[in-house]
Amino acid sequence: MTIETESTLPEPEPTVSSTGESRPSLWRAVLAGGRSFGTVAILIVLIVVFALSTDAFLTLRNVQNVLIVQTITALMTFGVMFPLIVGEFDLSVGYLIGFLAVLGAFLAGHGQGALVVIPAMILLGGVVGLINGLLTQKVGISSFIATLGVGIVLQGFTQGASGGKVLFNGIPSVVTKIGGGYAGPLAISVWIAIGFAIVLFYVLEQTPLGRSWYAVGGSERVSFLAGLRTARLKIAAFTVSGLMVGVASVLALGQSGSANPGFGPDLLLPAYAAAFLGVTTYRAGRYNVIGSVVGILLLAVGFNGLSLLGVPFWVQPIFNGGVLLVAVIVARAEARKVKVGT
């Protein structure tokens, strides 16, 4: 007898997704999916332990600082989430943020103000995302290959535009203000990251567009048959990814006040680590905003606490890698087996 969906592993328990509340509120939506909060538990334990072991941990300054330096990671993680959700992989984001930062600094150094520099960085990020999308969807190249090729080419442009130098002349003060300034208790860049988190959460969980992206990731074929324009949706996902990287690049340029041609590639894998950690939390088995934010905070708090305690420098990566492995091992089977690309 035919069972189309059988897999070699036992099926995951049925999980009820959206609840049937009649008037959805964002708040209720946040709680609705709530089942898997193991990572949150680890985060709380870490916070308690660090708070007890060092006074420097739970201070306003420290909290502010932990948050501000994570804004770039957060936006990069949001950036890689969209291709992941639609079942693709983007290896170009690291090269892209480096390219956009150098481009912004280059424009600034040639006398352009914030009104040109910021839109140029963000939009060009979107354009590169669009190119990634077109290469994968229209030319039909596997996203790993296409984005790797695009990324390597971008690295060349980055090096060429920088002329091999750190660019720091004429960075508009608006940009540095956005990167490092404060508005109320939190840095402006933190507000920006929070704003994007809320908007993206809303789009992904509450709008047809978001659900269509998840549907395409679940089965491109069925989505296509459903009349979803899967190619467009995927291209859109890549474009949004590029735009997010563009925003991240503005924050990066603002926070460092300069653009270094070597900057960027190192940010690729941490963004993926946070997105993978995110899968263990909130909606287990799905890439999601809340889970990613918790993942970022977990890694950030761990790093911060350990370095406040003064552990040797090589303990950090062991902690980071260990947290990722442990969180995934103890998570539900869906989270362990989440689809990555393809």
């Binding site: 007898m1 035919t2 069972i3 189309e4 969906t5 059988e6 897999s7 070699t8 099926e11 995951p12 049925p14 999980t15 009820v16 997704s17 959206s18 609840t19 049937g20 509340e21 009649s22 008037r23 959805p24 809303y202 789009v203 509450q206 709008t207 047809p208 567009l209 659900r211 269509s212 998840y214 549907a215 990731g217 679940g218 089965s219 069925v222 989505s223 296509f224 048959l225 459903a226 009349g227 979803l228 324009r229 088995g285 799905r286």
Partner: protein
């Protein structure tokens, strides 16, 4: 059968031609689809039915010819999205469900979320709407369920609800919009693509009734099927052979099924005695002999065993998710059928026997070897049990490998450094089962469904198992190929293979089995011996 009124066709295909490379998949096919009529599309495997459906639904553009639809003459239907917007809907054989979504979402991606692209989705209202729709269409599924938990039999109903739900929407009771002209209908043409193949026979009637009620609303329906029994509800019939229309019939009188089969196959048939369907002449009874002669001797699974003494398979207290302690035994040369309703364990048993699903408890003895733990497929194979899974897509063959490599996959080691042996063996499979096109190097994924099934049968029979488990082996297979398969199974039994036969069609059990075991609620309720084996007894016992 609905009353035939004179009306303009909903869709007219005019001399449609479609080529894939050198292959002409459709050759000048013309077809009229009338509102309110169910049009059956028949044809053997590879005759072009799927291709035609894809042209009607916008997946492919024809290479030549035109489509008249809603009084417009078109070169093609554009894209699936465009075709859907024009009112062409397709229920594909594989239910269009995404396991990671809820039923509500699965319906909504087809029918809309009731919100602008970036507007908030009113989840509660949406879910209630979907639930109402499912209730109206008599589909026993909850809107809040995860798709992965929907039962196979309900998937077809859900798929239909997804596709023609517009006709049953909130403001109209079922049938209220019936309008033979069909002018204002949101759905004008419904294509159901071999949907019943996945449903147990016992549940198909409900599905066919749903189809009739949709047609009665004025929708033109194209029904692709290999089950001739379902032709009862069809108004018109078109038979394709090798990409061309070879027969068409509108309304009564109806030619007997055997003649339709003859049209499909395109060669004279030897009609068997009684109600036995026709058998194709040609492929002789020696196909297994030549197969086993070609295969390397040391590999044939049962060669070492003594077939004459006692049962070759003995199952004790087998427990799984559905089965609660099943026991049975079977002898060499027997064909034992299994019947039962959904949930009775009849779907689970073959998966347990093949080692695909884990056993909770139990013991299986095959040819003297005792297996206690949920045997992995390797262990079952080594004991002499080969199982052909029903799920050809995910469990049958490797689409990206050649026919060649698929055939030898279970015994790769035997063919190491023996390319000529491999060639001979694979060719004998191709000949014995009439695989078309007969090229060992073709990618498995490029074959039509029926030919894939033949290759898989060859792959497993080649091993000369002592026990052969067949799970719905005629799934998606045309009547000609079906006969090839039945012949091969009978041959195998004659040569001492013990066949355990599972099918969604009780007729097949009645026709081919020596006895049938009926399962209910995970237990064996009776054994129907050959002497009492009729369609009635099987259905009676299953339902009781």
């Amino acid at each position: 059968m609905a009353l035939r009124t004179v009306s303009t066709p909903t869709m007219s295909l005019d001399r449609i031609t479609k080529r894939f490379g050198d292959l002409v998949a459709l050759n000048q096919v013309s077809l009229d689809l009338e509102p309110g009529q169910i049009h059956a599309l028949l044809g053997s495997n590879g005759s072009g039915k799927s291709t035609l459906v894809k042209i009607m639904s916008g997946v492919y553009a024809p290479d030549a010819g035109a489509i008249e639809f809603s009084s417009a003459r078109l070169g093609g239907m554009g894209s699936p999205a465009e075709a859907a917007a024009r009112g062409v809907r397709v229920v594909h054989q594989e239910a269009p469900l995404i396991d990671t979504l809820s039923v509500t979402e699965a319906v909504a991606i087809f029918r809309g979320f009731g919100a602008a692209q970036l507007g908030p989705i009113a989840w509660g209202r949406l879910r209630r709407q979907v639930q109402r729709l499912l209730d109206r269409m008599d589909v026993p599924v909850s809107a809040a369920q995860q798709c992965s938990t929907v039962q196979p039999a309900d998937r077809a109903g859900l798929a239909l609800a997804i596709v023609v739900g517009d006709l049953f929407d909130d403001n109209a009771a079922p049938g209220a919009r019936a309008d033979p002209g069909g002018g204002g209908l949101p759905v004008k043409l419904l294509i159901v693509d071999e949907v019943t193949a996945a449903i147990p026979e016992s549940e198909t009637q409900r599905h066919l009734d749903r189809l009739r009620s949709v047609a009665d609303m004025g929708v033109a329906i194209v029904m692709v099927t290999h089950r001739l029994g379902e032709l009862e509800i069809a108004d018109d019939i078109t038979v394709l052979r090798a990409g061309s229309v070879v027969y068409r019939e509108a309304g009564a009188p109806r030619r007997p099924n055997s003649e339709l089969v003859a049209e499909m196959v395109g060669q004279p048939l030897v009609v068997g005695p009684g109600d036995t369907p026709p058998t194709r002449s040609g492929a002789g009874p020696d196909r297994l002999t030549s197969l086993w002669n070609a295969a390397p001797v040391q590999r044939t699974l049962s060669s070492a065993q003594d077939r004459s003494s006692g049962p070759v398979i003995r199952v004790e207290n087998l427990r799984g998710a559905e089965l609660h302690g099943l026991a049975f035994r079977a002898e060499a040369g027997e064909i034992v059928g299994f019947a039962g309703l959904r949930g009775s364990g009849v779907e689970e048993l073959p998966r347990l026997l093949s080692g695909d699903d884990p056993w909770l408890a139990g013991q299986v003895e095959i040819g003297g070897k005792i297996l206690t733990k949920g045997g992995r497929p390797r262990a079952m194979l080594d004991a002499g049990l080969a199982a052909i899974p029903a799920d050809r897509l995910r469990a049958g063959g490797v689409a990206s490998l050649s026919v060649n490599e698929n055939v030898i996959l279970p015994s790769l080691g035997e063919y190491w450094h023996k390319p000529s042996l491999r060639q001979r063996v694979v060719n004998s499979v191709i000949q014995a089962f009439d695989v078309r096109p007969p090229k060992a190097e073709n990618l498995f994924g490029g074959l039509s469904g029926g030919n894939q099934q033949k290759v898989l049968l060859g792959k497993w029979l080649l091993l000369h198992p002592s026990v052969l488990v067949l799970d719905d082996p005629t799934y998606g297979v045309d009547p000609g190929a079906r006969e090839t398969i039945f012949d091969a199974v009978a041959d195998a039994a004659r040569r001492g293979v013990c066949v355990l036969f599972f099918s969604t069609e009780p007729e097949q059990l009645v026709r081919i089995c020596n006895r049938v075991l009926v399962l209910r609620s995970g237990e064996l309720v009776t054994e129907i011996p050959r002497s009492e084996l009729t369609l009635e007894t099987v259905i009676e016992w299953s339902y009781q």
